[in-house]
């Protein structure tokens, strides 16, 4: 037997060959998973596990510095229920969302309708409308901080020309959040324009033409044909817009930091501050968990409407 093993592989005992074949089969089966592994390891460690971890943390009172933490069941949630700041933030967030959603939908729809016509430089316009979406948030914040500057900003200058009172915008508890709404709409309505555009382009041209041949004017053909056929897209934009409204916080970090007097404190900002200024990780995780369930429900609705395969292949 020893002699046979020293000779060429062809002479390997049947047992070893069998094992090699099994290994090869095993590898064939495992191969796809090995290809998926790098991406999925990253996803697991930095997306899925953190999600579970966050929910777990919400049941503890960990503050990042202490050695250990106690499992305090729902105490964080009870504390949250009585947290005036938090509910103020919820109120601000809802107010903010109500402010931006109609504006984004209307502006995006009008722009998309205009872009859907035979107009010169269409793709240039489309690029310009989408441009604010890709501008880094820090740049957007600085630009608008200057525009909204009470004494030196161009906005108040223009308002002054017309003789109207000039609010302190980001320094005024009444106008701070509306100012951020303007910022948000400027930044994002191009995003929804592109989505509406895709929706419009999926409406068969014959329908409109047939209507026009039958004597319908633009207004009628829009309301009776285009708009109804566009309703899934409109609904999608509505949901995404609402989700976006609830997620706002980076501009708050960069401009008002929740002020003045808590006027721009929004849910995610309160979360951010609780976690990274007060390091009250358990408590902040409770906020995060609540927010997750809220947003995830909306996102589920959104994905149901889109039909995930259509968009993501």
């Amino acid at each position: 037997m020893t002699e046979a093993m020293i000779k060429t592989p062809d002479r390997l005992p049947v047992v070893v060959k069998g094992i090699l074949r099994r290994v090869k089969e095993l590898f064939q089966i495992l191969e796809p998973y090995l290809y998926l592994a790098p991406a999925f390891i990253i996803f697991t460690v930095f997306v899925f596990a953190p999600l579970i971890f966050s929910i777990y943390l919400s049941f503890t009172n960990w503050d990042l510095i202490s050695k250990g933490a106690d499992f305090i069941w729902f105490k964080n949630y009870l504390r949250l229920a009585h947290n005036k700041n938090f509910w103020g933030a919820v109120e601000n967030t809802i107010y903010f969302t109500i402010g931006i959603v109609p504006a984004q939908i209307v502006l995006a729809l009008i722009s998309a309708l205009l872009l859907n016509t035979k107009v010169k430089f269409k793709s240039l316009f489309r690029s310009i409308y989408f441009l604010p979406v890709i501008v880094p948030i820090t740049v957007t914040a600085i630009v608008w901080l200057f525009i909204f500057s009470p004494s030196y900003g161009i906005l108040n200058y223009l308002i002054g020309l017309v003789g109207l009172p000039q609010p302190s915008w980001l320094y005024d508890p009444v106008w701070a959040l509306p100012a951020l709404m303007v910022l948000a709409v400027w930044t994002n309505f191009g995003y929804f324009t592109v989505i509406f555009l895709a929706g419009l382009q999926s409406i068969p041209g014959e329908l409109i033409e047939a209507a026009e041949i039958d004597g319908a004017n633009k207004w009628q053909s829009f309301w009776k044909i285009t708009f109804p056929l566009l309703s899934p897209t409109t609904f999608l934009v509505l949901i995404m817009s609402i989700i976006g409204g609830f997620q706002i916080y980076q501009t708050v970090v960069l401009t008002t930091e929740g002020g003045p007097a808590g006027a721009t404190n929004v849910i995610v900002y309160e979360l951010y501050r609780t976690a990274f200024e007060y390091f009250d990780m358990g408590y902040a995780s409770a906020m995060a968990t609540l927010l997750f369930f809220l947003l995830f429900s909306f996102t589920l609705i959104q994905f149901k409407v889109v039909g995930s395969r259509v968009h993501y292949g």
Partner: protein
């Protein structure tokens, strides 16, 4: 049957002109803040506060850009952002190519479930993940390091979707021929599929680079040293340092902002299609 062209109002010339004017007006309004930023960046201090304010700076202070560049550790910030963006992009290209290849060209148990999981990563709001990821990095002792800035982002759903769609179009005959020639799956991927997927890879690369370039909150919370700051964090720190009521040097701030924006604009100018698709698929908004 009949006409199958897309919806467009095309009867008379007039409607086209109305649309054009309205779109142009809208574009102007959208671009105005950025134009104002550019204009302010080239003004002198007195020009900024001049009353009434004008659009064209007189004199044109190119010096502002040099001053802004030297006012803070911007060279370092730029370098950091570039390193991070490049590393993450390469990482994402790698993990996405491998995963997309598996999804596109291999049959295996659980492929639908795993694909749904990839989709799932897009459905989880990023704000929720800030705290737990921060904690995880703290335990790994990765805080305040390039690892923290790069590793969490080296895989992304968009890349997997786009590359999978593209890989699906590669003819099975090509793969069969390669295998008959003794080529392993991996070699097939590396030597044949990848070189034939340049546009798709470019799309993923562009999208990954810019989203990482623009990233603000994450680099903000995981880095403490000035030497690790990315451009966005550096810019916001600069803003905090410079903003002081009446003494704010807005021209300098605008110059720094323009400098931060320029790489994004340049890449956007060349690759809008990919940008837009990436942003929309991933649901990222400003």
């Amino acid at each position: 049957m009949g006409l199958t062209k897309k919806t467009s109002i095309s009867f008379k010339v007039k409607p086209g002109w109305v649309s054009f004017i309205l779109l142009a007006l809208g574009s102007l309004i959208i671009v105005m803040p950025l134009l104002w930023m550019l204009s302010t960046s080239l003004k002198s201090m007195t020009g900024v506060y001049k009353f009434p304010p004008g659009l064209i700076p007189r004199p044109i202070m190119w010096q502002n850009y040099i001053d802004a560049w030297n006012s803070a550790n911007f060279p370092r910030y730029f370098l950091n952002s570039t390193i991070v963006a490049v590393v993450v992009t390469l990482g994402e290209l790698t993990t996405s190519s491998l995963a997309a290849f598996a999804f596109a060209r291999m049959k295996f148990r659980g492929s639908n479930l795993l694909f749904l999981m990839v989709l799932g990563t897009l459905m989880i709001p990023k704000e929720i993940l800030l705290i737990p990821n921060y904690v995880i990095l703290k335990q790994l002792d990765w805080l305040n390091s390039y690892l923290a800035l790069t590793v969490p982002f080296m895989a992304g759903a968009f890349g997997i979707f786009i590359l999978r769609q593209h890989f699906l179009t590669i003819h099975q005959d090509l793969e069969d021929a390669a295998i008959m020639d003794g080529c392993s799956r991996l070699r097939f991927l590396l030597s044949i599929v990848i070189p034939n997927s340049k546009p798709a890879l470019a799309a993923v690369a562009v999208f990954s680079f810019i989203t990482n370039w623009n990233s603000y909150i994450w680099p903000l919370i995981v880095t403490r040293d000035d030497s690790l700051r990315t451009i966005q964090v550096g810019l916001s720190a600069f803003k905090d340092a410079e903003t002081s009521g009446a003494n704010t040097n807005w021209a300098l701030l605008m110059a720094a902002s323009v400098t931060t924006l320029v790489p994004v604009i340049i890449i956007y100018a060349f690759a809008q299609e990919w940008f837009t698709e990436g942003y929309i698929t991933s649901g990222i908004r400003g």
